[in-house]
Symmetry: C2
Subunit: 698 residues, 2 copies
């Protein structure tokens, strides 16, 4: 499934790589302020009006747990994926009330459940601030320029926020080729309306994840509240009466997390030889440890389940990504594309002078990244993630006290004034924590440090403080008071002296490691990230000069529009039709009888005889999407909801590096399947009526 | 469970480390020609007679699949663990007849099933050949001495085999301090008599593996045949009528695989910082990939199940081992022990001159090992294991043709004349192979190479030959004819020219890699292994000089005797009694209702009301054992069978580096539990009578 920042790559696909980086048909995650109007008109005879564009833009939401959604009623009803909302469902669950297992339906507005620690953003405006960001860096060397740009970005955000009252983010596009200021309306009173049982939402489990044909009701309805009442939006998407048929043009509007399609070959080689293998190692290790923890009891399983899903999903993505990077066809196409662009640049002395050195600069930065990869990963990267949420709280507290006295632009980016609310939302989260789970996670991170660096390494020795990973994790977690929200609040609000006096063992662990973590971060920002930014800005300028501006930027977890058609595909001898229907899931359940992930919930088996088996359930289309797009609405020409993105097929995982429309497909829940399940399985008339009502007056 | 070569280490245990390497009470995996007679007499008042010793030695068998067993009837009935025999059960299974799932009972001798590719060895004699091996190496530098020793060992084996007709092995003891020639009676007609269902043999699955209390009927009975008839041994163990009680002295006679208790600190640090982390990485990665494969269908699960068990078991061991190595108490004790010995040696100029440099030499060798660890592992070590059994056949064929023309002593050790039968037994095995599984395993190994070394590495580029790991694995496996035993035999028997003409893609893959693999092996043997041998020989001599000869050598998968007492232990607040009973497994099944690994087979639920719930089922004792001891008989003073070793508890995993008797325990099936199940659950009167009959005349 397409969780945020679970990126991709896949082997064996016959690639339709664009020669020389011109998008193939249906390729692209387009900016709303640079939409592919011409392609749409030429290929699909579709005219994209400003009204259509505004309706779609302002009906879409970005969800802070990492995913997309859309407003689908005049009362602020939001549709997203079950797997996007699963963290929320988990936080609302307990040993006695397992919402993931049982599902949830609020029979009335009053019964809708407040979801802690989640907010939604609606994109309101986009402004190009490239000149302002670049000016700040003019004439400086790469490291200083990088610092200057980060400061400028924070300053722009702070002032925009003050001016507009909206949430402001400066987005880095084209790896540093453009900077755009995005203003968002932010909503933080979010409530749970409806969720099906995990058994049907995630039907087929990890086995069938990224596969097709599929049979998943991967939907959850939330509701935005404002001032204690359901939000009354100006813009929302209407529900299609008739849905799609094969060949129909469909749009996906959502927040693809990250792609690396514009990376240089040297950068891709770094990913292939260092970054992705390490991510696989870390994920597979964690998958095994979470499986072990889950095996201890049903309650252990419930506690670890969300993490396990997420890790398995990412693992599947990274395995596909590695396969893609090891596919010579992919790399060769990238090499050809890069040499052609470089040849054109080299043919123009002025261009060569301005931009020609960029590829080498990036190659050098990759070497630096490779050399520091183990250490930087071992300490959990820029955020010093130590595996455990509790340890993350300690890091936030230590860094908060260090950063807050500085001016906003001088701080670490995520502690800038505009970003502090997110820090506090997470820090004060009432989400339950489980000591045994936190011990396991911290122990795992401490042991991983030693496995990567050796036990005598300074960082490892400091972290372990003369104890075994298990003993140290127990000491830190069980001795800490940070389980208590009030204590976290007290420490966050404490004076510098009061905070300095804290001898919470987790705080002390973080204090002992933070200088090393910050030094690594600085080195990475100065010698890798800043160099990349500056060099990619040059390459982007070169690309714009050669190809014009009709190039879409890599994904950045910001709002994008993709277009495509409902279409099946060929897999070896098998011709895979674009739609599945309800009857298919009953057939599958019979075929895989007795297997956990293929057992239907009682709500479905009960209606096996009465349900309309021919109702479309899931479908595939050629839209260009990636992790983060989960929960995006699929929209037709009229701007109506015809589906809900929840996955790509395994062949789509290559999309992290290159688009293909031969076999790669987006996978959606059909809007008719959602409506059918609400009516025929769950009797959720309240939602059915709410979704249908807006259509009546038209 | 204690599979061969699944070694150990564990955290948090309060260590009763012997100061200065004198064994603690009950410590030791003793040689049959250097048994701890004095300790047994002083501590337990037990006099070990030559007759007792010979009876036990000649009743024990080493099983080629990696484990121990014992002859328990005058008709060659052999008792071992279900998990030792599970490879055999798997090979005898098919999609329609799953013996692991269903169990097996031959109602008559005629119904006993021939097990392919397995042999059993009974140790017949031991001769010290240290002088002969060492003389061959006199005056040579470490690398040349290493080669000379390996040649001398092969020559000794070959001539012993010719002289005696028995299987001969020169065993390296004390890491090179002693060399003993072991002669074995070898049996290769082995048949399956009885196996319970996996659900009760491996009750609790991976969850409960290495835990106690336990409820596993981890037993299988095989039978040795000679000349087509049941073997009539001179020596066999009788079945105890009354079993044990708490505090009783019990012996374990079996084949502990490997320990590293005599390793220097530098050597342990190499294991901690390089070798064990890498093994964990490899195992966890494989566990995830096997889980994915298993998820595809019930048949996929059946195919991968044996490998998955084995990998999970090893992973648990290595995690424990890593925890032990990261436990400062363990390392500190080793440091203290080492410095004391070195101080004594340093105090005697002659000793210092002879032996004082050994620790430094080993430290240098560890640095070399660390530097080459990734490459050597990536190519699958000395045997160039490429993950797939089919690829292993190709390697055997290529090396066979290269080695056979040489004289026996000039060959790679495993191709010496005396070892060739094992090569052929494996190569001509009729065990089923599954193309999809072989593709997956080879793809995994090829991808791992790239993940470890980077795709541009010469070794990786050669292996992939311009293809993705998936495409290359498919090409090699699906294009190979080695699935066919006749083709393997044809190629093994082919002339040099005929073999050179083979264009089997797997053979060609192996040919392209073998020069690099051999170069690495030579480097490892010359600069690591030979240096270690020479240096450990010095350290052993030093230890003998200081401590006398009453030191047991590290485990070497050769016959050893350990002694101890039936005893429970304390775990935190919990006092764990030494025995479990049948009633306990029914209680556990009720508690963990609905969970796969806790569901009893029908044969057991059927007798829930009639079975004697108080029958002892599993028990723990203080015996010093390790992986490879699986299937060892537990014997009382009279030399009668009172149990069957199948596991150690989690606290025993530290045993790889140091013995502790505080919490570490061996876990056995009680002989009364085995008899009770045969009688009350399986109605296996034929075996019951056979086990009981020999007792009558006494």
């Amino acid at each position: 499934m397409l969780r945020t920042f679970t990126l991709a790559g896949a082997a064996g696909a016959v690639l339709a790589l664009s020669s020389f980086a011109r998008p193939t048909p249906d390729e692209g995650m387009w900016l709303f302020n640079n939409a592919p109007a011409r392609q749409l008109e030429e290929r699909y005879g579709f005219e994209m009006t400003p009204a259509w564009s505004e309706l779609v833009q302002k009906s879409c939401v970005r969800i802070s747990v990492g995913g997309s959604g859309s407003i689908v009623s005049p009362n602020g009803l939001v549709m997203t994926n079950h797997h996007v909302a699963s963290d929320l469902l988990e936080r609302l669950s307990s040993a006695d009330r397992n919402l993931l297992e049982r599902g949830f339906f609020a029979a009335s507005t009053e019964e809708e459940l407040v979801c802690p620690d989640v907010h939604m953003d609606v994109l309101w405006s986009i402004t190009d601030v490239t000149a302002e960001v670049d000016t700040s860096a003019a004439g400086l060397d790469a490291a200083a320029a990088g610092t200057a740009r980060r400061k400028a970005m924070t300053a722009i955000e702070d002032s925009a926020k003050e001016r507009s009252g909206m949430h402001a983010e400066v987005v880095t596009l084209y790896q540093g080729g453009r900077y755009h200021l995005y203003l968002y309306k932010r909503f933080d009173d979010i409530r749970l309306v409806f969720a099906p049982e995990k058994a049907i939402a995630f039907y087929g489990g990890d086995n069938d994840n990224f596969e097709f044909p599929r049979y998943c009701l991967d939907v959850t309805f939330l509701r935005i509240y404002e001032g204690g009442n359901p939000y009354q939006p100006e813009h929302y998407l209407r529900w299609s009466e008739n849905g799609t048929k094969e060949g129909d043009l469909v749009f996906v509007a959502g927040h693809p997390g990250s792609t690396q399609r514009l990376n240089t070959v040297a950068h891709l080689e770094y990913l292939r030889d260092h970054s992705v293998p390490f991510a696989m190692h870390r994920l597979m290790r964690l998958e095994v440890l979470l499986n072990i923890f889950s095996g201890k009891s049903a309650e252990h399983r419930r506690i670890a389940e969300g993490d396990l899903f997420s890790v398995q999903n990412s693992r599947k993505v990274y395995v596909g990504r590695m396969a893609g990077l090891l596919d010579p066809a992919v790399m060769e196409a990238k090499r050809v594309e890069e040499s052609r662009l470089r040849a054109v640049i080299a043919g123009n002395p002025e261009w060569q002078e301005q931009w020609g050195g960029a590829w080498y600069e990036i190659a050098v930065a990759q070497q630096t990244a490779a050399n520091m990869a183990r250490r930087y990963s071992a300490i959990g990267g820029s955020a010093m993630g130590l595996g455990s949420e509790l340890a993350a709280y300690a890091t936030m507290l230590v860094r908060l006290h260090e950063e807050r006295p500085k001016t906003s632009t001088e701080r670490l980016r995520e502690f800038g004034e505009g970003s502090l609310p997110q820090i506090f939302q997470r820090l004060y989260s009432p989400a339950p924590l489980y000591p045994e789970f936190e011990v396991m996670r911290l122990e795992s991170a401490l042991s991983l440090m030693a496995e990567l660096l050796g036990a005598d390494d300074e960082l490892v020795a400091t972290a372990l403080a003369g104890k075994s990973p298990r003993a140290r994790a127990e000491e830190c977690v069980l001795g800490s008071k940070l389980m208590d929200v009030a204590e976290r609040r007290r420490l966050a609000e404490a004076s510098a002296d009061e905070f300095a006096a804290s001898d919470d063992p987790l705080i002390e662990l973080v204090r002992s490691l933070d200088p090393m973590a910050r030094a690594l971060r600085t080195k990475y920002e100065d010698e890798v990230q800043s160099v990349e930014r500056a060099a990619y800005a040059k390459i982007s300028a070169a690309r714009f000069a050669v190809l014009g501006e009709m190039v879409y930027p890599d994904a950045t977890f910001t709002l994008r529009l993709s277009y495509g058609a409902v279409a099946g595909y060929q897999d070896g001898d098998r011709s895979i039709p674009p739609y599945t229907v309800f009857a298919g899931v009953f057939a599958k359940a019979a075929e895989r009888k007795g297997e956990d992930w293929y057992t239907l919930p009682a709500s479905w088996t009960k209606v096996a005889d009465s349900i309309n088996g021919q109702t479309p359930f899931n479908f595939v289309s050629t839209n260009d999407i990636i992790g983060g797009n989960s929960g995006s609405p699929v929209i037709d020409r009229k701007g109506e909801v015809v589906g809900l993105i929840f996955d790509g097929n395994i062949q789509s995982l290559i999309g992290n590096y290159a688009f293909s429309d031969v076999q790669a497909r987006s996978v959606s829940v059909d809007a008719r399947g959602i409506m059918g399940a609400l009516e025929q399985v769950y009797g959720a008339d309240r939602i059915v009526n709410e979704l249908r009502a807006p259509n009546t007056p038209r």
